[in-house]
């Protein structure tokens, strides 16, 4: 209960069902202040779906998500789903709270995407600058007539500063898709940071990277956690990276949480090993 104070993200019985398929089944987890928490599991375990439930892209079928103590999403199976619901957790009555992804971003959750989603035809600078738009004090008329020049100048200065910190300043006029893959990932993280988040969700940040790049990324994630006072929640397949930097790890298999704990605990957990090696259920007994 001591954790309660510094809780950043709290997911409770989050269940996401598509038709008859339960992609995420009663997932409960916590991310606390300053922590790096990893969500791992075999392909198709429902990790990205869980992220999409947190960021409001999907409306979870059942369960709730709290951010900084405030409920940002909660739902009950309804309509056709009341009968078709196949989650493990029996739904108990919850007030329904809905938020669109942009509202959740404003509240302070930023994310990157598994298959990089940059604003492809825009410059590196504009990619980051767009993230500053939502917090700027302006409206469409003041912006068009340039009454907002002080605000615009501030946004540009902050963008430049961020690009410099991230070592991307020399590329600011490049078109985003022209960057090499690794830099595109870095740019996506920079863009997420520009939304001034308190929690950063990284979806496979090391995908497609070689061991050296992965090592650099490890240091980089720690660095941004410290300098931007972030909590980080990430999906990752590179076990070296996960084991090195995670404070805690949650393991998902077929939508269900099968283990959680420190890297050491997870490494020695038989169920996790089975899930990754594909041992059948009866062999367990």
């Amino acid at each position: 209960m001591a954790e309660q104070k510094s809780n950043i993200l709290h997911m409770e019985h989050v269940t996401m069902q598509f038709g008859g398929v339960v992609a995420v089944n009663g997932l409960s987890l916590d991310v606390n202040e300053g922590e790096i928490v990893a969500l791992i599991g075999p392909n198709g375990a429902g990790k990205t779906t869980a992220f999409n439930c947190v960021t409001g892209i999907y409306e979870p079928t059942y369960g709730k998500v709290d951010f900084l103590g405030e409920t940002i999403l909660s739902n009950m199976p309804k309509g056709k789903m009341t009968k078709a619901y196949a989650g493990d957790v029996e739904p108990t009555l919850l007030p329904i709270t809905k938020n669109t992804p942009d509202v959740i971003t404003k509240k302070g959750i930023a994310r990157t995407f598994q298959n990089i989603r940059l604003f492809g035809q825009l410059t590196v600078f504009d990619n980051v600058l767009i993230a500053k738009h939502m917090r700027a004090k302006q409206n469409v008329i003041s912006a068009t007539l340039r009454f907002n020049h002080a605000e615009e100048a501030r946004m540009r200065a902050e963008t430049m500063a961020l690009l410099e910190e991230q070592d991307l300043a020399h590329l600011k006029d490049e078109i985003a898709t022209s960057l090499p893959y690794g830099l595109q990932r870095r740019l996506e993280i920079a863009r997420a940071l520009a939304t001034e988040p308190k929690l950063l969700l990284l979806d496979e940040p090391a995908a497609g990277m070689n061991p050296q790049e992965t090592q650099e990324l490890t240091d980089f994630i720690k660095k941004i956690r410290d300098s931007y006072h972030l909590s980080i929640f990430m999906i990752e397949h590179h076990m070296d990276l996960v084991m090195q930097i995670s404070d805690r790890i949650y393991v998902l298999d077929f939508g269900k949480l099968i283990a959680n704990g420190t890297p050491d605990e997870i490494q020695n957990n038989q169920r996790v090993i089975d899930a990754y090696l594909g041992v059948s259920d009866d062999a367990e007994n």
Partner: protein, 367 residues
Amino acid sequence: MKKAIVSKNKLYTLIALLVVIGLLAFLQVNSAEYSYPISILERSAIYAVVAVSMNLLTGFTGLFSLGQAGFMAIGAYTVAILTIPVDNRPSVYYVNGISPVIENLHCPFWMALIIAGLLAAAVAALIGIPVLRLKSDYLAIATLGFSEIIRAILAAPQLDRITNGSYGLKNIPGFPNLFAAFGLCALCIGLMVLLINSSYGRAFKALREDEIAAQAMGLNLFHYKELAFVISSFFTGVGGGLLAMFMRSIEARTFSISLTYDILLIVVLGGIGSVTGSVLGAFLVTAGREWLRFFDNPLTIGGVQIPLFRSGFRMVIFSILLMVVVLFYRRGIMGSNEFSWDGLGRLLKSIPARLSGKYKSKKGENA
């Protein structure tokens, strides 16, 4: 060094502006003599406004809307109803009579244009609520549908005493002078350019590039789509109002789907995502259409009548042109680039090289 280049470009712009003003002054003084070219230029400028507003949606926000004709109709009818001189109204509405609501409603043309834009924007805001939730091609067909609904309503017999039904509205006062006509068009386009280059314009582009990522940047999809749609419709409505002032008389048939297609042709030809392309496209298409007029007249060479040349041939050539652009020059004239003096300089410099290059290669072939 760099500063010098910037001021040089400013100088070019200034000179170009002065040339345009000088030309307008010349045409204004000799307006009786040059009425035909003036009418082509005015129509081009008005189409440029509508084309840029369509580009704001299609090219910059990534929303493929085909409702332009409907919003132009709203703008045109508003301007017509508000500016036809009160004294002339009985003669305009002599068949159906005039509704007492609008009988004495009159205001200066600039105010009528603003009201025209606002009305079109208000209708767009309402239509946008259901329509903007749709994906690309459904959006196109739904906006096209709404445009037809608007036209059906304007032509409906129930509104005869306001819209004058199939008789249309006549005696609309024209532009006081050329500067007003071109100044208003330039003002509209200028405002849209300012918007496109503002923080909001960037937000629109983000939406065009990737909706999911734009949401993750805190942009509410519906809010920004609606904003782009409403602003675009405002300028389309003003464009329709300008067209009414230009044509002096309007009827519902003017605003059929083919008007939207004409604007689409301009946008595609100029380059989707380029404001200067749309402006250039508007002048080329409008002037080209006039120039192609000879295709519509029977042509006799040496006593033999060429069979192809008769009424309608011009439009066939026109639509073939559209197909050629779509199939072979998908980027149009400007692609998504904008005009700049540096770009023009590069183009001019490259021409001799290109010509000589061609010449050389031909020579090479001969040898």
